[in-house]
């Protein structure tokens, strides 16, 4: 019996055999989950079962061992308590339904777009959440110390050592401004005022300044020098990372080489995206119904591995 006949007789209905749309949707979800997120490299991902995720900064810093004879009392070191940050997850839900009529009216393209659209909308939200800290990092997103993510007034936990900066004078991306960023990272201190340098690994920038970045990254000569002066290798020693969700067309950012657990930007999953069937008891003629449920939040515990410049 042909598939059409089976369908007409109700044999090939959703009740009697696995729906092709069900399987297709599951494959689309799997495929979408495998798509690398543009901003995931800047984030540490945590799974947490409560609404609020709280994390404190950790510095492994003690004073240098003082001179002390065996007969004396052992000097005990006090750890400096870091600032902490609370990240609150937000619950989100969405869904779609495809009625039998849509199949019979051959709205296949629309159905295909709907099937792809739901997982894609979730993926887009992840990107938007993650880029928020960059887009608002100069103006509203704060780290545990209460300063903006990219600021010149980050406080050390030990107030004797004052403040530190992970931003600089606004300037377009160039060898000069990148060197300022490199220099800022090299000059970073820990809460005891000791060197705690960072090495730039990635430059994250809007596509509008791609040419400027490429001039610095791809050349062994100073782009602005008419004498073709040779450029040190440090200008090519970063990985360019193009941003498509950045709201500023001038701001650029530098990420240092960091271990996963050193990253200050945190993405907290309370509920990873889950899809369940939607049924309507009053209307059995739905070929497919899916609801998406998720809960997550982002926040900056600290900005020690980052540098931001608002550009010009």
């Amino acid at each position: 019996m042909a598939a059409t006949q089976k369908y007409q007789q109700g044999i090939a209905g959703r009740d009697s055999m696995p729906s092709l749309y069900d399987r297709t949707f599951d494959r689309i979800v799997k495929r979408t989950n495998e798509v690398p997120r543009e901003h995931s490299r800047f984030y540490r991902f945590e799974d947490w079962n409560l609404n609020d995720y709280k994390e404190g900064e950790i510095w492994d810093t003690l004073d240098t061992p003082p001179e002390n004879r065996d007969s004396g009392r052992i000097p005990l070191m006090n750890l400096t308590e870091g600032y902490n940050k609370t990240i609150t997850s937000v619950r989100r839900r969405s869904g779609l339904i495809i009625p039998k009529e849509a199949v019979e009216e051959q709205k296949h393209n629309m159905i295909a777009r709907a099937l792809e659209g739901l997982p894609k909308s979730e993926m887009r939200l992840e990107e938007l959440l993650m880029v928020t800290l960059f887009n608002n990092g100069f103006t509203s997103e704060t780290t545990g110390d209460g300063s903006y993510l990219f600021a010149s007034d980050h406080y050390f936990e030990d107030p004797r050592f004052g403040q530190w900066a992970n931003t600089g004078t606004s300037a377009a991306f160039s060898t000069t401004s990148f060197y300022s960023a490199w220099s800022n990272m090299q000059g970073r201190k820990d809460p005891k005022g000791m060197p705690d340098f960072k090495i730039p690994a990635t430059v994250f920038y809007p596509y509008q300044i791609h040419e400027d970045v490429m001039k610095v990254h791809g050349s062994d000569k100073y782009p602005q020098n008419s004498l073709n002066a040779k450029m040190p290798e440090l200008f090519g020693a970063f990985e360019p990372h193009l941003g498509h969700y950045l709201s500023s067309s001038t701001a650029w950012f530098v990420q240092a080489k960091e271990d996963e657990n050193e990253k200050g930007l945190v993405f907290v999953w309370q509920t990873r995206p889950e899809y369940k069937e939607i049924h309507d008891g009053m209307n059995p003629d739905m070929v497919l119904g899916r609801r998406l449920r998720m809960s997550c939040g982002v926040g900056a515990v600290h900005g020690r591995g980052l540098y931001g410049n608002q550009g010009a």
Binding site: I97, P99, L125, L128, L129, V131, T132, N135, N136, Y245, S247, I278, D280, G281, M282, N283, M286, G289
Partner: protein, 166 residues
């Protein structure tokens, strides 16, 4: 750039969860776009025009009508009490912002240039009650689209509080 005005978007309906559709006789010599709001007059459906019909909205046109009708029937999604819509906001024809102060208040509809708005100037029928703001529910998307509550037109989430009584 804020989000431009567009016709109402159905966010959800009470059970049954799919939209019902009706084939109704249309008034002659009218044109409209899919998503525009309509009302009933003398047994025919016709688009809300300005504030005319905006306090007695019957449903949403399911299809474009590009040429003048000639006593033909057209597909309409009738409003259902409890249906939620996303609507751009106007004040008697001028794009208007929306704020939390609008929440809980029922307003009429208004159509200009084939776009149906929520009219904060009209409260005669008060069929569309503001229950939330687009920026509150879609904060990240709104931020990316540079859309705030002060943007004009603002975007309100409304619930159909009552059906038209004529």
């Amino acid at each position: 750039m804020a989000i431009a005005a567009g016709n109402p978007i159905v966010l959800n309906t009470p059970s049954p969860i799919s939209l019902d559709r009706q084939y109704l006789l249309a008034e002659d010599s009218k044109t409209w776009k899919k998503g525009e709001l309509c009302y009933l007059t003398s047994g025919t459906v016709t688009p809300v025009s300005g504030s005319t019909g905006g306090s007695t909205v019957y449903g949403i046109f399911a299809e474009d009508q590009a040429t003048s009708t000639s006593t033909s029937s057209v597909w309409v999604y009738p409003l259902v009490v409890g249906m939620r819509l996303q609507m751009a906001v106007t004040n008697n024809g001028s794009d208007a912002a929306v704020s939390t102060a609008n929440i809980g208040i029922g307003y009429d509809a208004y159509t200009a240039s084939n776009i149906s708005y929520l009219d904060v100037n009209g409260t005669t029928g008060a069929q569309f009650r503001v229950v939330d703001l687009y920026t509150a529910l879609n904060a990240e998307q709104a931020a990316f689209q540079s859309h705030t509550d002060a943007s004009t037109p603002g975007i309100a989430i409304v619930e159909v509080a009552s059906l038209a009584v004529t």
